[in-house]
């Protein structure tokens, strides 16, 4: 928290190096979060950029009641929700931009442990599973989507999720259960 304070102070002093440190530390998680929330690489990158711009724009308003990362993820979630609404209004439902790199990484992640090279059929299976799961996430309502992404994909603690969403512990867990159930039904329908 004290290093958080130092970083925030430097950010408020418009220290460019502090900005670079913040981006370097959080960019992967912010990007992965936006990618899983939006299911589209181009939109995810655009929103991830906007997240850091918003953080710098409003760093003077950050009250330090929460961790800097919690505030950062709250900004990310809010911007993702706004983008989902915007895309829904535009009827832009093209979620097919999970790129080849992502799919290859997916197959590797789902392959047998021990660092062995995945067989082509296993790789395809992994990529398909990745896509089916992402489609299922995309079809959840935005609040359920937030919960499964934060908890099951990003592995944030329930406590941190409560701080990000502003919801109570029991409510988050109960909705998380419903979100997983809904997701499972959608995946079963796809397979």
């Amino acid at each position: 928290m004290s290093s958080d304070r130092q970083l925030v102070r430097r950010l408020r002093d418009r220290d460019e190096q502090a900005f670079r440190e913040l981006v370097a530390e959080h960019r992967d998680r912010v990007y992965n979060l936006t990618l899983r929330m939006l299911g589209n690489r181009v939109e995810a990158e655009d929103v991830a950029q906007e997240v850091f711009i918003q953080v710098f724009k409003y760093i003077d308003d950050f009250r330090e009641e929460a961790k800097l990362s919690t505030w950062l993820y709250r900004v990310t979630v809010n911007l993702c929700k706004n983008r989902i609404k915007y895309l829904a209004r535009r009827h832009d439902r093209d979620r097919d931009q999970l790129d080849d790199t992502n799919e290859a990484a997916a197959s590797a992640a789902l392959a047998a442990p021990g660092g062995t090279t995945p067989r082509p059929d296993r790789a395809l299976e992994g990529a398909q599973l990745e896509r089916v799961l992402q489609d299922a996430i995309n079809s959840l309502d935005e609040d359920h989507r937030v919960l499964v992404v934060l908890r099951d994909v990003e592995d944030l603690s329930i406590e941190e999720i409560c701080a990000i969403t502003g919801e109570k512990d029991g409510t988050v867990k109960s909705r998380l259960h419903r979100a997983r159930l809904a997701l499972r039904k959608k995946v079963t329908r796809h397979l």
């Binding site: 002093d13 418009r14 220290d15 460019e16 900005f19 670079r20 981006v23 370097a24 960019r27 992967d28 912010v30 990007y31 992965n32 990618l35 899983r36 990158e45 991830a48 950029q49 850091f52 711009i53 710098f56 790199t101 992502n102 990484a105 997916a106 590797a108 992640a109 789902l110 599973l129 990745e130 799961l133 992402q134 309502d141 935005e142 609040d143 499964v148 099951d152 994909v153 592995d155 969403t165 919801e167 512990d169 029991g170 409510t171 867990k173 109960s174 909705r175 998380l176 259960h177 419903r178 997983r180 159930l181 997701l183 499972r184 039904k185 995946v187």
Partner: protein
């Protein structure tokens, strides 16, 4: 959240919410011993609940296996460029003489220039700002006639 929960849940709703929260904790292995025993007793006599548990566990396990996608390499650079562009270079102090407009420096330079101009005019013998001394010699009356009248 989109769930209709502006009011505290009623008795039945609160029970359902508590059960769902317990199932969530059970899947994650974070349920307390007493609650685990309570839930397992309910699971033993409720096949629908057992099925629900298996469904959520399967979803939880599948989601955890999703890979993490790293951010594009150029993300940080793009953000920096956007910040510089949108703030016209005023955001970061370091670029005081780069793309930032140095308003402070410009003000100091303008003030120095004004002082220098005033000193120049003060010392000038032709267009001076200096007031004419009271006891300065007046031109003789005949000299006044030499000066053409408008």
């Amino acid at each position: 959240m989109s769930d209709p929960t502006p009011r505290p849940p009623s008795g039945a709703d609160a029970d359902a919410e508590r059960l769902e929260a317990m199932l969530s904790d059970y899947v994650e292995g974070t349920l307390s011993l007493a609650e685990r025993q309570e839930l397992e007793a309910r699971l033993a006599e409720d096949p629908a609940l057992r099925e629900q548990l298996e469904e959520t566990r399967a979803a939880h396990d599948a989601l955890r296996r999703l890979n993490k996608t790293p951010a594009p390499e150029e993300l940080g650079k793009k953000v920096e460029e956007l910040i510089h562009r949108r703030s016209a270079g005023r955001f970061f102090g370091r670029r005081a003489f780069g793309d930032r407009v140095p308003f402070g420096v410009l003000l100091v330079v303008a003030l120095v220039a004004l002082v220098a101009l005033a000193a120049l005019l003060w010392s000038s013998t032709t267009g001076s700002l200096r007031p004419e001394p009271r006891d300065a010699p007046r031109p003789p009356p005949e000299a006044r006639d030499v000066i053409p009248r408008p």
